[in-house]
Subunit: 167 residues, 2 copies
């Protein structure tokens, strides 16, 4: 499915959501939706704000971004992550389910997919709870930090050896 086709469908879904819940169709709301569905991966309010400022004919305030994002979450068109102090969002329609690897040292975040895992999670039977979606965050250390740490340990050992020789 192409990007423009996806955009058309999500606009349709959003239109129906707004109508069903008595909200109005405004240019701002659809401009925000369009922009979000042009972004690959995660984004935060601040980056979205500056993208709206730069690329659109009309400006959108932060308050409107926050308001619209609540609607989009409820319409199941985006999902929210709170990995850092500021919230991150990503589009959820027609996007492959994926999981996040987060480095506890440098904070970097990488997506990965695992079909077996998705099946396992999808098959869970939950009592008294209707699942809509899920997020799996795996914490640990990325290769970069791991190597940096080993290098630093090596350097420390060498310099302490040198100090001892100097005594």
């Amino acid at each position: 499915m192409g990007t423009s086709e996806v955009k058309d469908i999500v606009k349709q879904i959003f239109t129906e959501y707004l109508k069903a819940n008595g909200y109005r169709k405004t240019l701002e709301r659809f401009a925000i939706l369009d922009k979000i569905y042009s972004i690959e991966g995660c984004f935060d309010i601040d980056s979205l704000y500056f993208q709206m400022m730069n690329h659109e004919k009309f400006r959108v305030s932060r308050a409107t971004l926050y308001n619209t994002i609540i609607l989009l979450i409820n319409a199941r068109l985006i999902i929210k992550h709170q990995l850092t102090h500021s919230s991150q969002y990503e589009r959820s329609y027609n996007r492959e389910t994926h999981h996040h690897l987060i480095c506890t040292q440098c904070g970097s975040s990488v997506e990965f997919s695992n079909e077996m895992l998705q099946r396992a999670i999808g098959n869970i039977r939950l009592n008294r709870f209707r699942m809509s979606h899920y997020s799996l965050y795996i914490y640990g250390m990325c290769n970069k930090c791991n190597r940096r740490n080993k290098r630093e340990q090596r350097n420390n050992k060498e310099s302490s050896n040198n100090n001892n020789k100097g005594k």
Copy 2:
């Protein structure tokens, strides 16, 4: 394993962590660790702050709580969740791995365990990443909200029927 035994072990682990990284052993740090390991489930900085204010002989500032919590995370003695705007924490030593069900309507959060799922996640092979722990959040609607919604839908239908009759 009893609570006091767990507390002794985590104090030992924390002592070793502090020594290994050149931090000092302070009364505050160990009072905070002790308090945290008396709490069952999740807590946030604010509730911890007031518990420290009320129950201990000496007060601990918020700044010290934030500082100490960073150390405890790095020592692998607590883990951090950012489900709401404020961060939540929970002790991680000797605690059964569990997952969270989060209601997107009322925000309530319930723990559950699923051994098969834990095994599936534990068995994932990750390239260039050393897993330390993970968090699985399942979003959806809790039973309470689900029933409330159905009741409200029913009421709305009835009242609109009454309105039509009144015309």
